[in-house]
Structures are given as structure tokens and as C-alpha cells.
């Protein structure tokens, strides 16, 4: 009964929401399936020549070949996996560090909070990429691992600042005081009230961080600071296609499309997830 009422009340909102989530899930799911499948199978050997050099897309080479005659579609598929690993890794690292620091700042004494807030602002003023480059440069060598850690740390400042603001807003609410009165510890308040209430906004931001991480890694690779082939990211492919961008533009366009699609997909998915997690927007079951 309630269900039909709500459907009648906001049919538009509902279809739009499920649309967001579905499209996002399809795009990300596709990347996931393709990326994971490269662990077991690829259409061609990613290291060997499988056709002529700089071929146009065709049925046998869906995205054409690069200047060494390697199948580009195969390389893009592997790039999918790399991008997912980078995004997930960087978001986990950045999220854990950022949320922890943000919560600490929200609970800290006035002075400590001011110090933390100021340091975060300074960190955020640095371009993520520059920060990541510094971290990569100061580590032993360019590998996927260092890139992920570097990007994660670079992004954590933004997550921390957002967490701090969101947590402070929730902390002012009467229900926090009520929970404290009934004897809930601060840790309990964080777990029961603060995290659930800041999570929807945080989730959308983390999705943004995921996209930024993928782009940052592509940029690092483009600058030659990413992992070397055959496990190369889209950024590396873009870099390699750079010299032939006028004669064989597809070498640059295809990885670019893959990258943009993934970033859009992740954001749509997060948007959909936020709506699902919000009882005021969710329809009643």
C-alpha cells in the first residue's frame, strides 16, 4: 500500500535513481569482469606482436595495434585491471588515513584541531599529482605499489578535511548528547551515529577520489613514473601513442575512452549507493 503511494508520488525520482545505479553498476561491472579475466586470459599475448604496426581497429583487433604491433584491446583490458587496483588501493589507503585523521580532528581539543586543520589546508593546496610525484621520487623506484601509496596519501588530506567538517556537524546534534547521556562511549558514538551519518557524503567523495586516483596514476605513468609494460596502465598507453597521435589517433582515443567510462561509472555507482543508503530517499519495502 505504502509502496504504491510512494511510486505514485515520485515516479520520476525513482526511475532516475535506479537508472544511475544500474548504469554505474554495468560500467564498473564490465571493467571488473574484463580486468579480472586478464589474469587468466587475454585475446593476444600482450608482449608479442600479433599483427601489423599501427593497424586500424578491425574485427581481429578491436582497438587496432600499437607501433610495436601489439593488440591494443588486450593492453586496454590489462589497463582496466591496473586502474581498478590503483583506484581501490588508493581509496582504501586515502580513506583509512583521511577518515582517521578527520575524526581525530573533530574530537581533538581546540588547539590540536586548529593545527590539524591548518596542516590539511596546506597539504590540499599542493596539487595531488605533485605530491604523488614527490613521494614516488623519494621512494626506491617507480612501481605500481609506490604509485598507489603515494596517490592514497596525497588524497587523504581531502578526505580528512571533509570527514572533520561532517563529523563536527553531526557532533553538534542533540542525539549525540542524548547518546552520551545514556552512557555511550565516544567510540560507540563514532560507530553508531557519526560514521553512518557522514557515510553517504563520504562515499560520494571517495568515488571522486577513486576517479582522481585512476587519473593521477595515468598521469604518473604518462610522465614515466608508473609501472612498466606489460602490466602498464592506460596512462602508459597514452604516452606511447603520443608520438603517433596524428597517424594513428585510435591508440590514444581508446585508452582515453576506457578511462573516462570507468570514472563516470564509479561516480554513478556511488550516487546510486548514496540514495539507497538514505532512508528519506529510499522507498519503503
Amino acid at each position: 500500500m505504502t509502496d504504491t503511494n510512494l511510486v505514485a508520488a515520485s515516479p520520476e525520482g525513482r526511475t532516475r535513481r535506479s537508472w544511475t545505479f544500474t548504469i554505474g553498476a554495468i560500467i564498473v561491472g564490465l571493467h571488473l569482469v574484463i580486468g579480472l579475466s586478464t589474469l587468466f586470459w587475454t585475446p593476444y599475448d600482450p608482449t608479442g606482436m600479433s599483427g601489423g604496426r599501427l593497424e586500424m581497429p578491425s574485427l581481429s583487433h578491436l582497438a587496432g595495434t600499437d607501433r610495436l604491433g601489439r593488440d591494443l584491446f588486450t593492453l586496454i583490458m590489462i589497463g582496466s585491471r591496473i586502474a581498478l587496483v590503483v583506484g581501490t588501493g588508493a581509496v582504501i589507503i586515502g580513506g583509512l588515513i583521511g577518515i582517521t585523521i578527520g575524526l581525530l580532528a573533530a574530537f581533538a581539543s581546540r588547539t590540536l584541531d586548529d593545527i590539524l586543520a591548518a596542516s590539511l589546508d596546506i597539504l590540499i593546496a599542493f596539487p595531488t599529482l605533485l605530491l604523488a610525484m614527490l613521494i614516488v621520487a623519494s621512494s626506491d623506484g617507480a612501481s605500481l605499489g609506490t604509485a598507489i601509496v603515494a596517490i592514497g596519501i596525497a588524497n587523504s588530506a581531502i578526505v580528512a578535511r571533509l570527514t572533520r567538517i561532517l563529523a563536527k556537524r553531526v557532533l553538534r546534534m542533540d542525539y549525540i548528547t542524548a547518546a552520551r547521556i545514556s552512557g555511550t562511549s565516544w567510540l560507540g558514538v563514532v560507530a553508531i551515529h557519526i560514521l553512518p551519518n557522514i557515510w553517504p557524503t563520504l562515499l560520494v567523495n571517495l568515488a571522486l577520489q577513486f576517479g582522481l586516483a585512476v587519473i593521477a596514476e595515468a598521469s604518473l605513468s604518462y610522465l614515466g613514473l608508473g609501472a612498466p609494460p606489460p602490466n602498464a596502465s592506460w596512462g602508459r598507453l597514452l604516452q606511447e601513442a603520443q608520438g603517433t597521435v596524428y597517424t594513428a589517433p585510435f591508440g590514444a582515443i581508446a585508452p582515453g575512452i576506457a578511462l573516462v567510462l570507468l570514472v563516470i561509472g564509479i561516480n554513478l555507482l556511488a550516487d546510486g549507493l548514496r540514495d539507497i543508503g538514505d532512508p528519506t530517499r529510499r522507498r519503503r519495502r
Binding site: 581539543s109 581546540r110 546534534m173 542533540d174 542525539y175 548528547t177 542524548a178 547518546a179 552520551r180 547521556i181 545514556s182 552512557g183 555511550t184 562511549s185 553508531i192 551515529h193 553512518p196 551519518n197 538514505d278 532512508p279 528519506t280
Partner: protein
């Protein structure tokens, strides 16, 4: 009998500015005390100081004895067992008094479970839930089962305030602090909530610290009143005395305003 709450020379400062100065009063077990004053007079600050939950930037001095224990300067850890069991608060704004992301039943259940744990009673889901439904019933919420299953945004403001009262009752406090619990409600709902509070306090023999800026509302609910202005006590005494022979100008103006309002109501067609 020892007072349940004994406040002496309580002052609250923020950055050198006095928000509450030199307040002293006591609440005996089962007594109903009203705290009145205009907006910004320090009523809510006094209430929060009572349970040691003032915001960080505020400096407190003086003495607050809650059930014989000193609250001012006490460590938060030591106050946790004191709160709830001794004093619980119903807040001004029903909208922010409930976590929007938690169903009413679970929310009241949190307080029930904490209290049951403290008393060494069972904390399994079934006994907690049955106590929750019982509490929702006691605050006269219709269809407790349905309310327990609802999100805060799905029930009315009056119902939310009842749920908040149920949450405070779940703590089984000896002192209930009601911080303008009816200000955000319409007149009919306001009267219902006041009647409910009065009844609950009597049944459970709780003490009541009732905060309001509305003299008539306080008069019908409490035995004794304290009038605050700019963070200072300007007058205190039994309701009837303060009402009939207000000694301070400010109280006089409050009474006059209330009279004028009453007359206007009586003369209205």
C-alpha cells in the same frame, strides 16, 4: 533528604564573557523545578552543565553535585555511569533529538540496552524490543509496533518528541531535565506533552527540571521556579508566590505578558 542535584555558585564563561554567573539551586528527589528566562539567558547551558556535557570551549566553575558526585572538573569517564542513571534530558528540538538514520525502535533500544546492561538484566533482542514497545506505549504513541519500525522522518514532530521522551525514560533517571520540550510544537500537542510529562514524573517519582521561556507553561507543571536573566538568578520561590507577588521587575513583566495573553484569549470571540 539530600538533594538530588545541588548547584552552588555555578558560572560558565566563554572567552572571558560570562554566560552564566553564580547560579545556586537544589532539586530534591521527586521535586519539580522550573527554570525560566528569555532566549539566551543561559537555561540550556545550565542544563548541560548539570550532566557535564558543555561544549569544549566553555569554562565552568563552581560546584555541581549530582546525586552527591561532583560533576565540575570530573573526568568524562567517571561521568558516563552517572549520566542517564541519574539524569536524562529531553531536548528542545525534536528534529535533531533523533538520529535520522536509525529506526525509532533501534534508537530507543540503544538506551534500553545500556540501562539493562548496567542493571545486569538480559540484553537480548527480544527483551530489549519488548521493553521498547512498552516504553513507546507509556508515552502514548499509537501503534508502538509501527512506530518502532519507522524512521524519524516518517513520524510527526509531536510523535518524535514522545519518542525522545521514551528514550530519556529508558535511562530510568532520577531526574528528568526537559529543555523546552514543547517549544517546537503546536498548542494542542504542547498541552498533551505537558500532561504526559507531568503524569510520568508523578508515576515514577522522578524529579523534574523543567526549562521554558513561557511562564504559564511552567506554572502548570512545576512546584517551584527559578527566574534567570542574562545568566543570573533574579528570583526564585514557589510558583504561586512568584506568580502572585513577583518581586523583580523582569518577573513582573513576564507575568504581565502572560496575563495579557490570557486576557486576549478570553476576550477573543
Amino acid at each position: 533528604m539530600n538533594p538530588l542535584l545541588h548547584i552552588e555558585n555555578l558560572s560558565v564563561h566563554a572567552g572571558g564573557k560570562a554566560l552564566v554567573s553564580d547560579i545556586s539551586f537544589a532539586v530534591a528527589p521527586g521535586e519539580r523545578l522550573g527554570l525560566i528566562g528569555e532566549s539566551g539567558s543561559g537555561k540550556s547551558l545550565t542544563a548541560l552543565a548539570t550532566i557535564g556535557l558543555l561544549a569544549d570551549g566553555l569554562k565552568v566553575s563552581g560546584s555541581v553535585l549530582l546525586n552527591g558526585r561532583q560533576v565540575v572538573g570530573a573526568r568524562d569517564r567517571d561521568l558516563v555511569p552517572l549520566r542517564g542513571a541519574t539524569a536524562a534530558v529531553v531536548f528542545q528540538e525534536p528534529l535533531t533529538a533523533l538520529d535520522p538514520l536509525m529506526k525509532i525502535g533501534r534508537q530507543v533500544g540503544q538506551a534500553v540496552r545500556r540501562r539493562a546492561k548496567r542493571d545486569g538484566r538480559p540484553t537480548d533482542a527480544t527483551s530489549v524490543m519488548s521493553e521498547v514497545l512498552d516504553l513507546l506505549d507509556q508515552v502514548a504513541l499509537p501503534q508502538p509496533q509501527r512506530i518502532a519500525e519507522s524512521w524519524p522522518h516518517e513520524i510527526s514532530g509531536g510523535q518524535r518528541q514522545r519518542a525522545a521522551i521514551a528514550m530519556a525514560l529508558a535511562c530510568k533517571p532520577k531526574l528528568l531535565i526537559a529543555d523546552e520540550p514543547t517549544t517546537a510544537l503546536d498548542v494542542t500537542t504542547q498541552a498533551e506533552i505537558l500532561r504526559l510529562l507531568g503524569q510520568l514524573v508523578r508515576e515514577r517519582n522522578m524529579a523534574l527540571l523543567f526549562i521554558s521561556h513561557d511562564l504559564p507553561v511552567v506554572a502548570g507543571t512545576v512546584d517551584r521556579v527559578i527566574v534567570l536573566r542574562h545568566g543570573r538568578v533574579v528570583e526564585q520561590g514557589p510558583v504561586s508566590t512568584v506568580f502572585r507577588e513577583p518581586s523583580h521587575d523582569y518577573t513582573r513583566s513576564l507575568v504581565a505578558a502572560a496575563r495579557a495573553f490570557d486576557n486576549a484569549l478570553e476576550n477573543a470571540p
